[in-house]
Subunit: 189 residues, 2 copies
């Protein structure tokens, strides 16, 4: 059986990454890698769906066992990507989608030279502002912070293999599928 | 303006390459690179469409001027690919499709590191036999020769970037489009 392909996907918030991925993940040949964290679940979040929620000692035991592909600490909580589920699904011929911010992606770049890196970009920073305003879940200050963060993240774009601009959703989904299909057709050196 | 991409396409005869390419070339963003030759035009062949028909002195003058990307001699006739039309169309942002047999492709591999190499393969050698029999233009001996040649050409498959298996035409055309789109989305290093 052919090994699946690991697709590492990053995007500034407000790029519509979630919508694109939910469309892609309807396809059975993909496994979505769920991150592990020690932070408390928020309302509506499910264990194993949004995150694998672990206690601090559990997480640290896994660190000691070298079970993480990468992990980081934010606001006193651990966040990480477990190796085992990824390798398992890849060896079963399933593609794995790993959604991660740019620094995490760059760490994985070094560890998984066969992974393919996709950056989802907004048509412009102005579009992010409009989308976040429209979503209405963030206040003005948070939106500006998000836009400055998006600007920083866009600087990492050139470290990725592919850049998909999410202007029209249908086109972005089709572009994502083209990238996956082309990678499947690639001849392994 | 973005530079176009050079796609070098090879396939054993009987793979349906012609049908796939005619479907792809309906799209305006492609320019099909026409080979130059000193052989006589066959009935129905048009200058500038099937080949650029040149005299031997004309061809040799162009060789002396280093005007060819590659050229070869078969059965006492020259066949070659002119550089100028390719570079012109690429610089106008058009993609160029260059259909060439495997040896020619391998020469271009060295000269154009940015070109993308696509191999179109049959589902099996048996399919080639069936297609050639069905076409009914070759006798049994020629068909066997073509199949042995296809076998040899298939050995070069791993030197290409992508392999598209032409089993169902619609799928092969869609695969070709996916490769083109993915290459457009690639971030230039």
């Amino acid at each position: 059986m052919n090994q699946g392909i690991l697709f590492v996907v990053s995007a500034p918030s407000g790029c519509g990454k979630g919508t694109i991925l939910s469309r892609i993940l309807k396809n059975k040949k993909f496994y979505y890698s769920v991150s592990a964290t020690t932070r408390q679940p928020r309302e509506g979040e499910e264990n194993g769906v949004n995150y694998n929620f672990l206690s601090k000692p559990e997480f640290e035991k896994l660190i000691a066992e070298d079970a993480f592909l990468e992990y980081a600490v934010y606001c006193d909580n651990y966040y990480g990507t477990l190796k085992a589920p990824i390798t398992e699904h890849l060896s079963q011929g399933e593609h794995v989608i790993l959604e991660i911010e740019v620094q995490g992606a760059m760490q994985i770049r070094k560890l998984c030279p066969d992974a393919k890196f996709i950056f989802i970009a907004p048509p412009s920073l102005e579009t992010i502002r409009e989308r976040l305003l429209h979503r209405g879940t963030e206040d003005a200050e948070t939106i500006e912070k998000r836009i400055r963060q998006a600007e920083t993240e866009l600087n990492f774009k050139n470290q990725y293999d592919y850049c998909i601009i999410n202007d029209i959703l249908e086109d972005a989904v089709s572009d994502f599928k083209s990238v996956v299909r082309a990678e499947e057709l690639k001849i392994q050196p």
